[in-house]
Protein backbone atom coordinates (compact mmCIF):
# COMPACT_ATOMS: atom_id res chain seq x y z
CA UNK A 1 0.00 0.00 0.00
CA UNK A 2 1.59 3.24 -1.11
CA UNK A 3 0.48 6.78 -1.46
CA UNK A 4 0.52 8.03 -5.02
CA UNK A 5 3.48 10.36 -5.30
CA UNK A 6 2.01 13.72 -6.18
CA UNK A 7 5.34 15.11 -7.36
CA UNK A 8 6.03 12.61 -10.10
CA UNK A 9 2.41 12.16 -11.16
CA UNK A 10 0.87 15.46 -12.21
CA UNK A 11 -2.66 14.03 -12.19
CA UNK A 12 -4.21 11.45 -9.89
CA UNK A 13 -4.91 8.13 -11.57
CA UNK A 14 -8.60 7.76 -12.50
CA UNK A 15 -10.54 4.93 -10.87
CA UNK A 16 -9.80 1.84 -12.94
CA UNK A 17 -12.71 -0.38 -11.84
CA UNK A 18 -10.47 -3.47 -11.96
CA UNK A 19 -11.71 -5.01 -8.71
CA UNK A 20 -15.33 -4.16 -9.50
CA UNK A 21 -15.09 -5.68 -12.97
CA UNK A 22 -13.44 -8.84 -11.59
CA UNK A 23 -16.36 -9.11 -9.16
CA UNK A 24 -18.82 -8.57 -11.99
CA UNK A 25 -17.10 -11.22 -14.12
CA UNK A 26 -17.04 -13.85 -11.40
CA UNK A 27 -20.34 -13.19 -9.67
CA UNK A 28 -22.54 -11.71 -12.34
CA UNK A 29 -22.03 -14.53 -14.75
CA UNK A 30 -21.83 -12.20 -17.71
CA UNK A 31 -19.05 -11.57 -20.21
CA UNK A 32 -19.76 -7.81 -19.92
CA UNK A 33 -17.43 -7.91 -16.92
CA UNK A 34 -14.60 -8.95 -19.27
CA UNK A 35 -15.12 -5.70 -21.21
CA UNK A 36 -14.76 -3.90 -17.88
CA UNK A 37 -11.44 -5.65 -17.23
CA UNK A 38 -10.18 -4.82 -20.73
CA UNK A 39 -10.87 -1.12 -20.11
CA UNK A 40 -9.37 -1.36 -16.60
CA UNK A 41 -6.13 -2.59 -18.18
CA UNK A 42 -6.35 0.33 -20.65
CA UNK A 43 -6.62 2.78 -17.73
CA UNK A 44 -3.42 1.42 -16.18
CA UNK A 45 -1.56 1.26 -19.49
CA UNK A 46 -2.54 4.74 -20.69
CA UNK A 47 -1.88 6.29 -17.28
CA UNK A 48 1.59 4.73 -17.12
CA UNK A 49 2.24 6.07 -20.63
CA UNK A 50 1.22 9.57 -19.48
CA UNK A 51 -2.00 9.75 -21.53
CA UNK A 52 -4.23 11.09 -18.74
CA UNK A 53 -7.15 12.03 -20.98
CA UNK A 54 -7.16 8.56 -22.56
CA UNK A 55 -6.96 6.97 -19.12
CA UNK A 56 -9.96 9.02 -18.00
CA UNK A 57 -12.01 7.88 -21.01
CA UNK A 58 -11.00 4.26 -20.43
CA UNK A 59 -12.04 4.70 -16.79
CA UNK A 60 -15.50 5.89 -17.88
CA UNK A 61 -15.84 2.89 -20.19
CA UNK A 62 -14.66 0.44 -17.53
CA UNK A 63 -17.23 1.88 -15.12
CA UNK A 64 -19.96 1.69 -17.75
CA UNK A 65 -19.42 -1.99 -18.58
CA UNK A 66 -19.06 -2.99 -14.95
CA UNK A 67 -22.37 -1.31 -14.16
CA UNK A 68 -24.06 -2.89 -17.20
CA UNK A 69 -22.90 -6.31 -16.01
CA UNK A 70 -24.04 -5.61 -12.45
CA UNK A 71 -27.51 -4.29 -13.30
CA UNK A 72 -28.23 -6.95 -15.92
CA UNK A 73 -27.60 -9.66 -13.36
CA UNK A 74 -29.52 -7.84 -10.60
CA UNK A 75 -32.39 -7.53 -13.10
CA UNK A 76 -32.09 -11.24 -13.88
CA UNK A 77 -32.28 -12.24 -10.23
CA UNK A 78 -35.22 -9.89 -9.54
CA UNK A 79 -37.11 -11.20 -12.59
CA UNK A 80 -36.34 -14.73 -11.48
CA UNK A 81 -37.68 -14.12 -7.96
CA UNK A 82 -40.79 -12.38 -9.35
CA UNK A 83 -41.34 -15.29 -11.73
CA UNK A 84 -41.03 -17.86 -8.94
CA UNK A 85 -43.26 -15.88 -6.59
CA UNK A 86 -45.90 -15.30 -9.27
CA UNK A 87 -46.01 -18.84 -10.62
CA UNK A 88 -45.38 -20.35 -7.20
CA UNK A 89 -48.37 -18.36 -5.91
CA UNK A 90 -50.50 -19.51 -8.86
CA UNK A 91 -49.50 -23.11 -8.21
CA UNK A 92 -50.57 -22.75 -4.57
CA UNK A 93 -53.92 -21.29 -5.67
CA UNK A 94 -54.35 -24.12 -8.15
CA UNK A 95 -53.63 -26.70 -5.50
CA UNK A 96 -56.46 -25.21 -3.40
CA UNK A 97 -58.86 -25.40 -6.30
CA UNK A 98 -58.16 -29.04 -7.08
Amino acid sequence: MDFINQQTTPQPVPKNWLVESILATIFCCLPFGIAGIVFAVQVNKLYEAGDYEGARQASDNAGKWTKVSFWVSVGGIVLCILFVTLFGGMAVLNSFRN
Partner: protein
Protein backbone atom coordinates in the same frame (compact mmCIF):
# COMPACT_ATOMS: atom_id res chain seq x y z
CA UNK B 1 -22.30 10.09 9.78
CA UNK B 2 -21.74 9.99 6.03
CA UNK B 3 -18.79 7.65 6.60
CA UNK B 4 -20.92 5.32 8.69
CA UNK B 5 -23.54 5.15 5.91
CA UNK B 6 -20.81 4.44 3.34
CA UNK B 7 -19.79 1.41 5.40
CA UNK B 8 -23.12 0.18 6.73
CA UNK B 9 -25.01 0.16 3.42
CA UNK B 10 -22.53 -2.04 1.47
CA UNK B 11 -22.09 -4.28 4.54
CA UNK B 12 -25.87 -4.74 4.78
CA UNK B 13 -26.16 -5.52 1.04
CA UNK B 14 -23.32 -8.05 1.17
CA UNK B 15 -24.72 -9.71 4.32
CA UNK B 16 -28.13 -9.88 2.64
CA UNK B 17 -26.65 -11.61 -0.42
CA UNK B 18 -24.71 -14.08 1.74
CA UNK B 19 -27.80 -14.84 3.84
CA UNK B 20 -29.79 -15.36 0.63
CA UNK B 21 -27.31 -17.93 -0.73
CA UNK B 22 -27.13 -19.60 2.68
CA UNK B 23 -30.90 -20.00 2.97
CA UNK B 24 -31.50 -20.79 -0.70
CA UNK B 25 -28.82 -23.34 -1.47
CA UNK B 26 -27.85 -22.87 -5.13
CA UNK B 27 -26.69 -26.51 -5.25
CA UNK B 28 -30.24 -27.71 -4.71
CA UNK B 29 -32.64 -25.05 -5.98
CA UNK B 30 -33.65 -25.12 -9.62
CA UNK B 31 -35.21 -21.67 -9.82
CA UNK B 32 -32.12 -19.46 -9.36
CA UNK B 33 -31.16 -17.72 -12.63
CA UNK B 34 -28.88 -19.65 -14.94
CA UNK B 35 -25.97 -17.89 -16.59
CA UNK B 36 -27.40 -16.32 -19.77
CA UNK B 37 -24.17 -17.07 -21.63
CA UNK B 38 -24.42 -20.76 -20.73
CA UNK B 39 -28.12 -20.79 -21.58
CA UNK B 40 -27.51 -19.29 -25.04
CA UNK B 41 -24.28 -21.03 -26.07
CA UNK B 42 -24.01 -24.14 -23.91
CA UNK B 43 -20.47 -23.08 -22.98
CA UNK B 44 -19.34 -22.09 -19.51
CA UNK B 45 -18.31 -18.50 -18.76
CA UNK B 46 -15.69 -17.59 -16.12
CA UNK B 47 -18.50 -16.98 -13.61
CA UNK B 48 -20.41 -20.22 -14.13
CA UNK B 49 -20.74 -22.17 -10.90
CA UNK B 50 -20.20 -19.14 -8.67
CA UNK B 51 -23.70 -19.26 -7.14
CA UNK B 52 -23.17 -22.91 -6.21
CA UNK B 53 -19.61 -22.18 -5.03
CA UNK B 54 -20.96 -19.41 -2.79
CA UNK B 55 -23.55 -21.73 -1.24
CA UNK B 56 -20.82 -24.36 -0.77
CA UNK B 57 -18.55 -21.92 1.07
CA UNK B 58 -21.41 -20.72 3.27
CA UNK B 59 -22.10 -24.33 4.25
CA UNK B 60 -18.40 -24.88 5.02
CA UNK B 61 -17.60 -27.09 2.04
CA UNK B 62 -14.53 -25.41 0.58
CA UNK B 63 -13.31 -28.34 -1.52
CA UNK B 64 -16.67 -28.50 -3.24
CA UNK B 65 -16.53 -24.73 -3.84
CA UNK B 66 -13.16 -25.22 -5.59
CA UNK B 67 -14.77 -27.65 -7.99
CA UNK B 68 -17.63 -25.29 -8.84
CA UNK B 69 -15.43 -22.26 -9.53
CA UNK B 70 -11.68 -22.22 -8.80
CA UNK B 71 -11.41 -18.61 -9.89
CA UNK B 72 -13.83 -17.43 -7.22
CA UNK B 73 -11.73 -18.99 -4.45
CA UNK B 74 -8.49 -17.75 -6.05
CA UNK B 75 -9.81 -14.20 -6.17
CA UNK B 76 -10.90 -14.12 -2.51
CA UNK B 77 -7.50 -12.92 -1.15
CA UNK B 78 -7.47 -10.09 -3.72
CA UNK B 79 -11.02 -9.09 -2.91
CA UNK B 80 -10.32 -9.17 0.83
CA UNK B 81 -7.23 -7.00 0.37
CA UNK B 82 -9.25 -4.55 -1.68
CA UNK B 83 -12.11 -4.53 0.85
CA UNK B 84 -9.69 -3.96 3.73
CA UNK B 85 -8.08 -0.96 2.03
CA UNK B 86 -11.54 0.39 1.22
CA UNK B 87 -12.72 0.04 4.83
CA UNK B 88 -9.51 1.67 6.14
CA UNK B 89 -9.95 4.57 3.69
CA UNK B 90 -13.61 5.03 4.60
CA UNK B 91 -13.05 4.91 8.38
CA UNK B 92 -9.90 7.02 8.57
CA UNK B 93 -10.55 9.38 5.66
CA UNK B 94 -7.24 8.37 4.07
CA UNK B 95 -6.83 7.97 0.34
CA UNK B 96 -4.58 4.95 0.16
CA UNK B 97 -4.40 3.92 -3.51
CA UNK B 98 -4.30 0.20 -4.18
CA UNK B 99 -1.25 0.58 -6.41
CA UNK B 100 -1.15 -3.16 -6.87
CA UNK B 101 -4.35 -2.99 -8.95
CA UNK B 102 -3.11 0.02 -10.89
CA UNK B 103 -0.06 -1.53 -12.51
CA UNK B 104 -0.51 -2.34 -16.19
CA UNK B 105 1.17 -5.73 -15.86
CA UNK B 106 -1.13 -6.85 -13.03
CA UNK B 107 -4.21 -5.90 -15.03
CA UNK B 108 -2.89 -7.81 -18.01
CA UNK B 109 -2.24 -10.90 -15.86
CA UNK B 110 -5.81 -10.79 -14.52
CA UNK B 111 -7.18 -10.55 -18.05
CA UNK B 112 -5.04 -13.43 -19.32
CA UNK B 113 -5.91 -15.67 -16.35
CA UNK B 114 -9.64 -15.06 -16.79
CA UNK B 115 -9.59 -15.61 -20.56
CA UNK B 116 -7.49 -18.78 -20.15
CA UNK B 117 -9.87 -20.06 -17.48
CA UNK B 118 -12.82 -19.32 -19.77
CA UNK B 119 -11.27 -21.33 -22.61
CA UNK B 120 -9.83 -24.23 -20.60
CA UNK B 121 -12.92 -24.99 -18.51
CA UNK B 122 -14.85 -25.69 -21.73
CA UNK B 123 -12.43 -28.38 -22.94
CA UNK B 124 -14.24 -31.71 -22.67
CA UNK B 125 -11.29 -33.87 -21.50
CA UNK B 126 -9.23 -34.46 -18.38
CA UNK B 127 -7.71 -32.54 -16.59
CA UNK B 128 -9.72 -29.56 -17.83
CA UNK B 129 -13.06 -31.14 -16.99
CA UNK B 130 -12.19 -30.53 -13.33
CA UNK B 131 -12.46 -26.79 -14.07
CA UNK B 132 -16.01 -27.10 -15.35
CA UNK B 133 -18.77 -26.41 -12.82
CA UNK B 134 -20.62 -29.59 -13.76
CA UNK B 135 -19.38 -33.12 -14.57
CA UNK B 136 -18.70 -34.02 -10.96
Amino acid sequence: MKRAVALVVPAAIISGILLFYFLFDARKTTWLPQCPFHLLTGFYCPGCGSQRALSSILHGEFLQALRFNVLLIASLPLLMYSATVMIVNKTTGNHIVQKFFYSASFGRIVLIVILAFWFLRNLPFFPFTSLSPNDH
